[in-house]
């Protein structure tokens, strides 16, 4: 077997071990841990890129390595690396837990990497749980008042219940198709969806995945976790894990592809409700992270638009949008955690006068926010428009109309952020940025703009990738 097929996973396994040993050490070495983690993450990204064009199946066809999975692995590696970048000062995490913090980030990444390539029910389940459990632990890792544990416990139980559902559903699917291999299941789904058992199975399975993506009605954890978790952890949840969730949903949604009208209608309704609820509730939020949580619910709705089409273009746009979302959302979170110097939760007003405290961060914030709001010339705008286009191609007129109107609503709360950053007078002194942060800012800004204006390469990549899962 070609090691490179399993390369990234192996690497992250090793990285996890290294960090594990760091965590065992008695005397705390924050700096060394950080640099080690950062270096490893960077290397991991390189590895993931290196394995980008691997292709093959391993572990008795339970594990499929194709462009689709590899793109997402690269994205995940990137996400991890970026999160590491902003983890320079983990103000809200006990120094002695830093090693564990990095360790769990790594295991989570590992889990998600396995998730995006696994094409066998059990593997999917195990990978999913591996990634989820790391996050369950990361959330309450934050020090301070009870909010973190409350968030943690809610996250845990909502997650546990929905994965329980999923498992139950997988059971039915297994029973109905006598197989645990997607490649064998998907062809058999159509005739089988006539029977309630298959239907329930499918529905419950999707429940577990929607939980990851925080689609209504499985979104309840998001606001609490976003608010309760440490900024860096939330950043990771908001970027990398979302991308992984999109990937696995794109794979599994094919189970329902042939189901037909009422199933897609159900998904349409879920997507509409998610985006509307997310946007409306986000309007009234005061806490920046909580607002972003609701906006992530809304964006889950947008991504679903792409999924619902069950067509190459739709999937491609979904992939494009997932990657775009990773970049733009991370940009915003980076600004957030740079501004929240001692890791506290940030009220939107606390962005006051950012324009004078740090013009560079302000630029990133504006671009990130506008990208999230779908304002050109940004990656977010292009992604959203491509999603709408593919949906319209399948004739979802109302879905597009509502989505577009939702875009307007969302603009309101995004502009409130801009308002705070640009208009309110500063209360604190200027922010000092290290040169890597500056570099990171410029990179992200240019990424947002460049891929927004010249989307062709990425779109083509996504199209070739999604041909693998269709």
């Amino acid at each position: 077997m070609n090691v490179l097929l399993f390369g990234p996973e192996l690497f992250y396994l090793g990285m996890a071990l290294v960090l594990f040993f760091f965590s065992l050490q008695r005397r705390v070495q924050v700096e060394r841990t950080y640099w080690a983690a950062l270096g490893l993450a960077a290397a991991g990204f390189v590895v993931a890129l290196y394995c980008l064009f691997q292709n093959g199946e391993i572990f008795f066809r339970a594990y499929k390595v194709d462009l689709f999975s590899q793109i997402f692995k690269a994205a995940l590696a990137l996400g991890l690396f970026l999160v590491m970048m902003i983890s320079r000062n983990l103000a809200h995490i006990e120094p002695r837990y830093h090693a564990e913090f990095f360790f769990f980030l790594t295991t989570c990444t590992l889990g998600m990497m396995m998730l995006v390539s696994s094409v066998e029910l059990l593997t999917i389940y195990v990978a999913l749980e591996l990634s989820s459990y790391s996050l369950y632990i990361l959330v309450p890792l934050r020090k301070g008042d009870g909010l973190d544990v409350e968030a943690g416990i809610k996250y845990l139980f909502i997650g546990a219940v929905s994965s329980g559902f999923m498992l139950f559903g997988l059971g039915y699917i297994f029973g109905a198709t006598h197989s645990t291999y997607l490649s064998e299941i998907i062809p058999r789904m159509p005739e089988l969806l006539a029977s309630p058992i298959g239907l329930v199975g499918l529905l419950l399975t999707l429940a577990g995945l929607f939980f990851k993506l925080s689609v209504f009605p499985f979104h309840f954890w998001a606001p609490d976790v976003y608010q309760g978790g440490a900024n860096q952890v939330v950043t990771f949840i908001a970027t990398a894990s979302k991308a992984a969730a999109v990937a696995v949903i794109l794979r599994l949604a094919m189970l329902g592809a042939k189901y037909g009208y009422s199933f897609t209608q159900a998904l349409v309704v879920l997507s509409i409700v998610s985006m509307t609820l997310g946007n409306l509730v986000a309007i009234i939020q005061k806490d920046f992270k909580r607002m972003l949580a609701y906006s992530s619910i809304a964006h889950a709705g947008y991504v679903l638009i792409g999924v619902i089409t069950f067509q190459e273009l739709g999937y491609a746009s979904a992939v494009y949008y997932a990657l775009a979302y990773l970049v733009m959302n991370f940009t915003v979170f980076m600004v957030l955690s740079e501004v929240a110097t001692d890791g506290q939760d940030l009220k939107i007003e606390e962005l006051a006068g950012l324009y004078s405290r740090s013009p560079l961060l302000t630029m990133s914030l504006i671009l990130g926010i506008f990208a999230l709001a779908g304002v050109p010339p940004s990656i977010g705008f292009t992604g959203k428009l491509l999603l709408f286009t593919s949906a319209m191609n399948e004739g979802y007129f109302w879905l597009v109309l509502i989505g577009a109107v939702n875009g307007t609503v969302s603009l309101y709360y995004y502009l409130k952020v801009v308002y705070a950053a640009y208009f309110l007078e500063p209360r604190q002194g200027p922010l000092q940025l290290s040169w890597p942060t500056k570099a990171l800012n410029w990179t992200l800004c240019s990424a947002i703009l460049v891929f927004g204006v010249f989307p062709d390469g990425l779109v083509e990549l996504a199209r070739t990738a999604v041909r693998m899962v269709l």
Partner: protein, 490 residues
């Protein structure tokens, strides 16, 4: 439509010169004021020069689409970068050039956060140029939004009365408009069968009447918001009042034209049958807007509100011209877009000058300004007379064409519009009298008049107004070259 490829990428240069300026500004220090102003002036000036060039160099005999540039952009979705110039957008490109150039000069005295100001202004104007020149729906819409969004920050920071409210209202309102535009244009895209955003190609497609009706009304309302079509106009007076001078100039002068231009270029061009179906409705809204605007303007006490409502009325004339669907009407409408753009720019730059000195726009607080600053008042009075439809000014001819066409197609609405001219004159002169005549307000007597340098942009604007007022043919003959085939194609 025949397309003639450009020998040299004039349009891309026109589009990129503000962008280039913007990027240079990014790396300048806030302290280097003069350098910042210089850079923005140069980039604006280049765009201005290029716009003049395209206006003059457009070959009327050849006709069709000239200076065309076309590149595949996103193959998967049939997006092409496709820009060109024809009779109907050449004047508007010129208008944009004029307004941005004069706008930069007008804001020369700006002291507060100069760098950011010019960055956003250049970003905005890039969008405007883009909309006027692109023939690909995707880029059209992209630039459309680029042109709208910076307005929020521009008003929020450099604006005046009730700016938070105004900025938010304006942005959300316009974005709500694009919430209707997206489904409309995507419906066209998807139902065309040929997966392309290329407008010229889409024009060739015969859409089913049902689709055309739906799409047209969506686009009409969506773009109509930006064109301040009654009753979607309320953002515009509020926005104008709040916005800083040059932004008001750009906004009333150019941005509102984006809406009407888009109605012409996208809605009417791509769904002719839809237009036939909705023309009555469109004409009605426009006529109501014309009458309504002047009457509401009559009751205003804030100079900028007055101008805002007069814009509502004048844009109504544009709408009426479009609704007629005749060659005269469309010529008039496009001409009016240009004329009104220059005129309002002049209005706002004059008001801005006075406001910067006196910090009030309440008509009853002002007065006797002809005594205090004769030149500044002369600028305003010129604009006011132009607004009152005095011959010898560009807008007279535009209104003439539109009104004649309108009476022909919708007699009652046309006559109502003509009658509104009286009230228009009344309120224009009323403002002039109360602001500039009578005894000067002792508070303001110490202000000195416009310096020649600051007078320059206003003189440029007046120059264009009068030139096209005396030689309207130079403009109309150009516009005709595209309108006549346009009507044939409908």
């Amino acid at each position: 439509m025949t397309e003639h490829l450009a020998s040299f990428p004039y349009l891309s240069c026109m589009l990129l010169s503000p962008v280039a300026g913007l990027f240079i500004l990014l790396f300048l220090k806030e302290e280097q004021r003069t350098l910042i102003r210089g850079v923005s002036l140069v980039s604006a000036g280049m765009a201005f020069a290029l716009s003049i060039y395209t206006f003059v160099a457009y070959d009327k005999q050849l006709g069709g689409l000239q200076f065309v540039e076309k590149y595949e952009w996103v193959k998967g979705f049939g997006i092409t970068y496709f820009v060109g110039v024809e009779g109907m957008n050449a004047p508007l490109l010129l208008l944009t050039g004029i307004v941005i150039f004069t706008g930069v000069l007008t804001m020369w005295e700006l002291q507060d956060r100069v760098k950011e100001y010019f960055i956003f202004q250049l970003a905005l104007v890039t969008g405007v140029f883009g909309v006027f020149m692109s023939y690909d729906l995707f880029f059209f819409f992209l630039f459309y939004e680029i042109a709208v969004v910076p307005m929020y920050i521009l008003i929020l920071i450099w604006g005046s009365t009730r700016k938070e409210y105004a900025a938010m209202k304006l942005t959300l309102y316009l974005m709500a408009g694009s919430g209707l535009i997206i489904p409309g244009m995507l419906l066209l895209y998807s139902s065309s069968g040929i997966a392309t955003f290329n407008m010229v190609a889409l024009h060739a497609v015969q859409f089913s009447p049902w689709i055309q009706k739906v799409v047209f009304v969506l686009l009409l309302l969506g773009f109509g918001v930006l064109a301040a079509v009654w009753p979607f106009h309320t953002w515009s007076p509020v926005g104008h009042v709040a916005a800083p001078t040059a932004v008001s100039m750009l906004h009333a002068g150019v941005l509102m034209k984006l809406g009407s231009f888009a109605i012409l270029r996208v809605a009417m061009y791509l769904c002719p049958q839809g237009f036939q179906y909705w023309a009555e409705f469109m004409g009605l809204l426009a006529a109501v807007g014309i009458v309504y605007g002047v009457f509401v303007g009559l009751a205003q006490t804030d100079l900028k509100y007055v101008i805002g409502y007069s814009s509502v009325s004048h844009m109504g004339i544009v709408g009426l011209g479009l609704a007629t669907g005749t060659v005269d009407g469309l010529n008039g409408a496009v001409f009016q877009m240009f004329a009104h753009g220059v005129m309002t720019a002049l209005f706002f730059s004059a008001v801005g000058f006075i406001y910067d000195r006196t910090h009030t726009r309440e008509i009853h607080e002002l007065g006797g300004f002809s005594k205090i600053m004769p030149v500044a008042s002369a600028f305003f009075i010129t604009a006011a007379l132009c607004g009152a439809g005095v011959p010898g000014m560009a807008s007279f001819w535009a209104e003439l064409l539109v009104l004649i066409a309108a009476v022909q197609v919708f007699p009652v609405r046309g006559l109502a519009a003509i009658a509104a001219l009286v009230v228009g004159a009344l309120f224009a002169l009323r403002v002039v009298q109360n602001t500039f005549f009578n005894k000067p307000n002792p508070k303001f007597v110490h202000f000195e008049d416009v310096s020649p340098f600051l007078g320059l942009p206003r003189m440029i604007l007046i120059g264009f107004l009068i030139f096209f007022g005396i030689f309207p043919q130079t403009m109309v003959s150009l516009i005709k070259t595209s309108i006549v085939p346009f009507i044939k194609g409908m």
